[in-house]
Symmetry: C2
Subunit: 1009 residues, 2 copies
């Protein structure tokens, strides 16, 4: 026997166990089509919600199957086994939050087998985010982060073959253009989704326009943000009667003629009919069928066994001239075939909001559902960025050791972006679990920030004590400040530019000494804690009677400032007790803005921008709709619920001010309005150009057995002609027109809910005649609209007594710590300016609102001199200033790869030009940035990556699609630069970077300390 024969034996032997892992992935690994036939791409898949009716971990394990039969561990287990049996089989997996849990439970032998499946394109990752995120209430910073978390998991474990080529948003309830833009920048070749307005879908079906090129950023990024997009025919399910999940009631393929109920011919006929029914609505000779659904494939075998037979028997009909060819495929392989057509596709440059599934079922309630969670998620993003930055800046030598600390919050934020998480459409216990995860993330983050402080603060040997976050100062609760006489604050600024901030701390007493980082006294004001705040049940056990208020200015970019606070011995001249609302109209104003309140109604009546003397009537009211109480037996009886907003009248009911009082001080002026179960504070800080409106709503009264949806409505005199503007995921601005859709002739059936749009961070109306723009910025995502001219309304809270029958199975009836209706507090920021000036205002405030300075604090026993001697009281992470139109979107340590030298440190840096093209005369110009801006480490090289930081941009080779010109494409005067490997020149300098409007550039930098 010679070596040749031995070799054959070995090959045979290996072949039977695991094929050699020669990567053959990508489009080359697709199963072949038959050119002259109608090819049906069967896509076995599972849709695994990262929390919904059960928590993400309950779903992973299959716990609480009494709620829902779903266990993801079994899905992946069993799919892998099926794929190993047969090289022709395909499966796509989407949600990395689950896959990563599974992966870390596997031994290396199993991992090798899975790598082999991935390398051969048999298991294909699609989307590959940590979750399939909501598109309405998610912020782009968090969207990018959650995709990065998933995509880098894949690239680290599977290299190029693990890179998803297709985005897959099959379940979210409405689709954002910004999401499409981000997907394009993430490098996807296509996007598929399942839900769109039923009128839109009908039109697209009739016109075979289910697939098109979506222009994600027609005004700023142009082609870079274009994305081939397909609407799935059956949502994401199989054609009717062809679900073969274990336990499905659909008939299996019964092909043993000796048994009763043989049904092969009947089933083949039925399937061929389903194929024809679908094919007539699509343009090509390839169609895709999604063979799976929610948490299916726990027993993958039942699906595959029947699919195998289906393929066999349907394809056998080719002998009879059926002309239909079935194959196992993936959305990528389908995309590749569509791309081969080389046809000219229609374009689309607006978005898919709002989503209506029928005439009275507008999924616009979830824009606001669970406002507390939505606020917490937004705040958590702020903390996560701080945590990642301090992990990098402060701990670059040991960063990888603490990255597990950051990881907790990263993953918590990853799952919180899910389309049943921040969306507010999960069960209550699941919402609690999301919040618990975020809270655990904060705790873990504290470890990270303290490690950073221990590196950044000491001047000598002494380490600072551990500092804590105080995350409940919004309800005047902070154990340290209210209980200790000496407190030190370290305030961190996560922006790339100097930042100012107003600090409000719960305290007892009225006289303090507040020292700046230079040791100078900082002016302060003390205001009593309101009785409205004291009633909030979550505040139980809190003793703070007052709030200490002062301003910090000039906090360095990525820098720290120390504040020293101690009980003082002077007079209490800084104490400003509440005063009765005066008998005349009351105006609060600073140098920039004034707001006038009616002395009878106690409501706002007028706002003025004092700099330009632009004065408009402005009336603000808290109002509420009554949620429709239907039994959902048919569309007319659809209840307002977690998903759907359906007021029982187009006229909201005004909530009357019961009482009002004011605060007048040097630093801040406030007007407080008290309603039966709500309150508001209008707040004008010294030197502020905007008015802060803090709303506190709840417990929403349901004693009348009626659910309510509370709005804050701003009525102005502006003639906006039905047009208003909202942001998409905190980034680009979308124009909205009342009772209008750009791509079809709208039959408006819900005059209020049908005009609601997600307001992620801002909404505004314009009137060219007085050249006025009235902008409201929000601290969290809300639903909003301009139902009548001059109006802006934002839904701030909702409490409903009926489920809207889309699965969650609970009415959205949140309760607080006392079991009564949940009290929620949040803020609006009002800006009045000219149209031309407004962009700069809302861009800066919008940026600051999600990147506020974060306070870490502790009580101390040492004295002030000692602290100021031992520790740095000011730290800056940058050694140059960034251009005003650019900010550091991401600074995130990469855990070291075992293969790279221990001395090499890497981080992800994302720079963003945060203005749109043409939005502002100055700011919308391209910006030039020096990557060598960081103060604590030296960059030795950089490479530009795709947005997800999972592949080098130079290697990205997206499929090209021809688009029908629309005729109104704006010219984009800038050319995008791609930076391959940036290396230090002889002078130790890196080339500078140019950013165009709305451009995000993602780098992986190499650095040392």
């Amino acid at each position: 026997m010679d070596v040749y024969i031995l070799g054959l034996l070995l090959v045979f032997c290996l072949g039977a166990q695991a094929r050699p892992s020669q990567p053959e992935c990508g489009y080359d690994s697709c199963n072949p089509i038959k050119e002259d036939m109608l090819n049906v791409h069967l896509v076995p898949h599972t849709h695994d919600d990262v929390g919904w009716l059960k928590t993400v971990d309950q779903y992973y394990y299959g716990d609480r199957n009494d709620i829902q039969n779903a266990g993801v561990q079994y899905i992946i287990d069993s799919v892998v086994q099926e794929l190993l049996k047969d090289p022709s089989k395909r499966f796509i997996y989407v949600e990395i939050a689950f896959f990563a849990r599974w992966w870390r439970e596997q031994d290396e032998a199993m991992r090798d087998q899975v790598r082999m499946l991935v390398n051969q394109g048999r298991l294909e990752f699609i989307l590959g985010g940590w979750c399939m995120n909501d598109e309405a209430s998610t912020h782009y910073n968090a969207i990018i982060d959650q995709h990065t978390l998933g995509l880098r998991f894949l690239s680290e474990n599977f290299a190029e073959c693990g890179r998803p080529r297709t985005a897959w948003q099959v379940d979210p309830f409405g689709h954002s253009r910004e999401q499409a833009s981000l997907f394009a920048q993430l490098g996807y070749d296509s996007l598929f989704f399942g839900r769109l307005d039923y009128q839109d879908k009908n039109k697209r079906l009739n016109e075979s326009n289910m697939e098109f090129v979506w222009k994600g950023s027609p005004n700023s990024l142009g082609e870079t943000a274009n994305l081939f997009t397909g609407v799935l025919f059956n949502g994401y399910g199989p054609p009717g009667g062809f679900n073969w999940n274990q336990g499905s009631g659909d008939d299996p393929m019964m092909d043993d003629k000796r048994l009763h109920d043989y049904n092969v011919e009947k089933r083949v006929d039925e399937f061929l009919k389903a194929v024809q029914d679908q094919a007539k609505h699509y343009r090509s000779r390839d169609i895709m069928m999604t063979m799976g659904s929610d948490f299916e494939y726990q027993n993958a075998h039942t699906w595959y066994k029947n699919l195998d037979k289906l393929i066999h028997y349907v394809n056998a009909r080719q002998q009879n001239g059926s002309g239909v060819n079935l194959l196992y495929s993936t959305p990528s392989c389908y995309t590749f075939q569509q791309n081969h057509l080389n046809q000219i596709w229609n374009g689309k440059d607006d978005d898919f909001f709002p989503y209506a599934s029928s005439a009275h079922t507008f999924w616009t309630g979830y824009f606001t559902s669970r406002p507390a969670l939505k606020g917490y998620v937004r705040q958590s993003n702020n903390y996560l960025q701080v945590c990642k930055q301090l992990d990098t800046i402060g701990n670059y030598r040991t960063g990888w050791m603490t990255s597990s600390g950051v990881e907790v919050l990263k993953e918590a934020m990853g799952v919180a972006q899910h389309h049943d998480a921040v969306s507010g459409t999960e069960k209550q216990h699941v919402a609690n679990d999301y919040a618990e995860r975020l809270s655990n993330g904060y705790k873990s983050c504290e470890n990270v920030t303290n490690m950073a402080l221990k590196r950044l603060l000491p001047r000598f040997q002494q380490e600072p004590p551990n500092l804590q976050f105080c995350t409940l100062t919004n309800i005047s609760k902070c154990e340290i400040t209210e209980n200790y006489d000496k407190v030190v604050l370290e305030v961190y600024n996560p922006l790339g530019v100097d930042s100012d901030t107003w600090v409000r701390l719960p305290v007892n007493g009225t006289v303090f000494d507040v020292f700046s980082f230079t040791g100078d006294a900082i002016p302060y004001q003390v205001i009593p804690v309101t009785s409205e705040t004291k009633k909030i049940p979550e505040r139980k056990g809190t003793y703070a009677q007052n709030e200490l208020i002062f301003q910090l200015t000039g906090i360095s970019p990525l820098g720290l400032q120390t504040v020293w606070i101690q009980k003082g011995k002077g007079d209490n001249s800084s104490y400003t007790p509440f005063k009765a609302f005066p008998s005349a109209d009351f105006t609060m104003q600073n140098k920039l803005v004034s707001l006038t309140f009616d002395h009878i109604t106690k409501q706002v009546k007028e706002m003025e921008n004092l700099q330009i003397s632009l004065k408009i009537p402005l009336h603000q009211k808290l109002m509420h709709y009554f949620g429709f109480s239907g039994n959902n037996s048919k569309d007319e009886f659809r209840a307002s619920g977690a998903y759907c907003f359906r007021p029982n009248s187009t006229e909201p009911k005004t909530m009357m001010v019961q009482s009002a009082y004011i605060v007048q001080g040097d630093l801040v002026q406030e007007v407080h309005q008290v309603f039966p179960w709500a309150s508001q504070v209008f707040r004008l800080y010294k030197d502020a150009n905007n008015v802060e409106v803090e709303w506190t709503v709840g417990p929403i009264d349901i004693s009348d057995k009626s659910g309510k949806e509370v709005i804050s409505r701003y009525d102005t005199s502006l003639q906006n002609g039905g047009v208003f503007y909202t942001d998409a995921n905190g980034r680009e601005i979308q124009e909205r027109k009342r009772n209008y859709r750009k791509t079809w002739n709208l039959n408006q059936t819900e005059p209020v809910a049908g005009n609601y749009y997600p307001v992620n961070s801002r909404i505004f109306i314009r009137d060219p005649a007085p050249d006025a723009q009235f902008t409201v910025l929000t601290d969290r995502s809300q639903g909003g609209s301009s139902v009548n001219d001059g109006q802006i309304e934002l839904m701030v809270h909702r409490r409903l007594l009926h489920d809207d029958s889309f699965g969650v199975g609970e009415p959205l009836n949140e309760t607080g710590a006392d079991g009564k209706g949940l009290v929620v507090r949040g803020k609006h920021y009002l800006v009045l300016d000219t149209i031309k000036n407004s962009a700069r205002q809302h861009r800066l405030i919008g940026l600051w609102l999600y990147r506020q300075p974060v306070i870490m604090l502790t009580n101390v026993s040492m004295d002030r001199e000692q602290w100021y001697t031992q520790f740095n009281t000011q730290v800056s992470g940058l050694n140059t200033l960034l251009p005003e139109n650019v900010h550091i979107l991401t600074l995130e340590m990469i855990p070291p790869n075992p293969l790279t030298p221990i001395s090499l440190r890497q981080a992800i840096v994302r720079l963003e030009h945060f203005y749109e093209n043409g939005e502002d005369e100055e700011m919308s110009k391209p910006a030039i940035v020096d990557l060598q801006m960081f103060g604590f480490f030296n960059i030795t090289g950089a490479v530009e990556m795709t947005l997800g930081a999972n592949m080098m941009l130079k290697d990205l080779n997206r499929l090209q699609w021809r688009v029908m010109p629309s005729g109104d494409e704006p010219a984009i005067p800038y050319e995008r630069q791609t930076y391959r490997e940036l290396k230090l020149d002889s002078k130790g300098k890196l080339p500078q970077i140019t950013l165009n409007p709305m451009e995000i550039k993602t780098f992986i930098i190499d650095f040392n300390g």
Copy 2:
């Protein structure tokens, strides 16, 4: 590289794919226990009903999952995959009806893998019958056949390693001692079951008497029929909270501490508690836990993955001194450990009927449920035996070609024995499916019998035409006899002795010529079809106006007799029209028996055995109970249903005779009674020693919205002192005592239902004072009792309007072809004799009732002379007479094994001594039989097998158990002979065979033609 290394490589290579199939099965393959610990035998299993809520094929495929989520194909698929992964895993499979379906769909590669699993004891067949048969309403002939079908499938495909060692009756609703006896004879080492009377169970739990040695035939077979028997602790389910079937609501093992809901310690604590809770009720340091349930393991992985973790974490507690050891095991391995104890077990010599699950829930309704199906199943057994015999006798040269023909009815009978088939506890559509299968079996059987006739009848070249069965002559329907003028009958006698039979054929006309096989005229009588019969909707389209009645005598054993019938031209003196019931009491009598009817009530009043002048008052009434109409919310509200019998009163309501008429003829005398929705015929044939009572019941009136359970009650003057006797599965007689159980102090809570027992073929009462025994034989299984002294009652039909909430989910409300309540017709046979003489009577009638001659017939165009010239008109299959106390239980062709020479034919022959020890002075003596009895072939050798014909008896080495002596064991004066290989001696003779009372000897004979 040399051959040695190559060898190593090959071994490695093979090892990774499929281990070499070295049989290591049997007790040697058990996973090891730990001697010093409490060993918990975890038995992964699935309980797969061979039809219940869905048909057997729907269950196999997973069709109609809307009814029940169950697909056996997936169970076996997925279990095999799991077993292949890990040599320590075990699974038992039970129902071969399913396994055989699966097996024939597999390719050889898969079969090899499964053989490997079986050879290593990883997949173990338990029970191994075609189904898990009902024990109340099944006949022993069919029980043996269905086990033979399954067991021989296993031995043919898996040899010795496929032989089940344990019987597994986990679900049937009461357990028969005869079943235990048959199991012992089938070679099982143990039996486990789940259901027994709750009072019995409590006592056994309290006394740790859950395991014992059941004496299956204490009076006749002795130790041969002893069987170690265990009552399972949790029915056949896992301990509460530990069901890990896919979708179960029980908590999975959540062992990743990084995820929320980690629960390992909690789950281990809970399991250890369950172990202790069970262990205290058992005697040994081994306990068995059944980890599975109905149709579980469709996704075997969910079970095994969690069991793996359970075993791992529970056994890890051994380090803390838990003393508990979990292992994957099987009931056989558990049995083996119990046997090792070598302790003295309690004995048990009665049975487990009736089964009560609570005070008002006696599962005694199913003894009668679906009487039509029960009758059809009994009749089908008769046809199957005929079919198998003719297949062997007539077609031994080509038998294997037609065995697929026999197979259809074999398999149909196999599934019909299931505990939700003949039991009547299945859904209506499933009952229809069972009947359809049997009907298909008859059709297939016709092919077989015609092939036999084509061999047996021709004297020359001419082949006879195809002959048909007429299976509906009981409602006077037979297309051929009623439409044609010339009809030939071939009557086959499946007994080993000459047989006589009365033939009744539907005809038109009153004058016929009936010729015997010798050409002699046979006397006949013609009776009109009654209007009661004409009303039966299933008879629609039938024209027969009369019935032609005549007697055939001396039909040879396993032989044929020809009858020629043609329209006659003589007078109609044989026509006996109906006559009015006379005004005086009416007595019908022949030489042996007389029955007297009261002229007022028209009911029976007296019976006399004329030979011995034994006369007793006898009153027979049709009566009915009203079924209790409960909602099953608690035991008191249990409804009478398919399973449970619960009359709403102890007093049945008498149904009054509306009218009566009589038939008087030379051959048969009849009294007809007509009731509002029932009728009866009392029939006395010439020379008969018993009276036939044909009852026709239905449509049971439910116009009063009340379900009814109809009984036929025989009231005599016999003083039976609460004692009555019923047969067990048609074989041994069981003594019953009213309101009494032998092994515990009965608290009787249902005076009627709690005294019901299955009457498979006979029930009798005795009174020693006049030395009288009154015996009623039945043509199908029924529930019966003697509720008051002197009485015998048999429930003949039931129609109920409520489900009894044990899963079937339908009220037992059968309807006929017209959509009205189903009409059922059946027969009782009344025997009055001395106690001493009665055994011979009921044994002979009982045998004849399930082995009646079968008629095949056709219309013919040839004339009589031609037929009688061309064809044999008498054929006998035997060339010697069998002893009177022996009959041929089985004669069945074995399809040739590809490995044996083509000339070698084999058949299974079972000979049965059908008297019990001491039952009859003469007949209970041992019998000597010459195996060389067959007329159509020469036996060249024989070997005695176990009862299932799946192993040589000499190789059987059952585990031995020591039993506590009860003190009342009868002496058994006979010694059992085992016949190893029987070979022809020099004179071409085989040794003779001795059979003791109740002994069944099973041989595989080699023969040639």
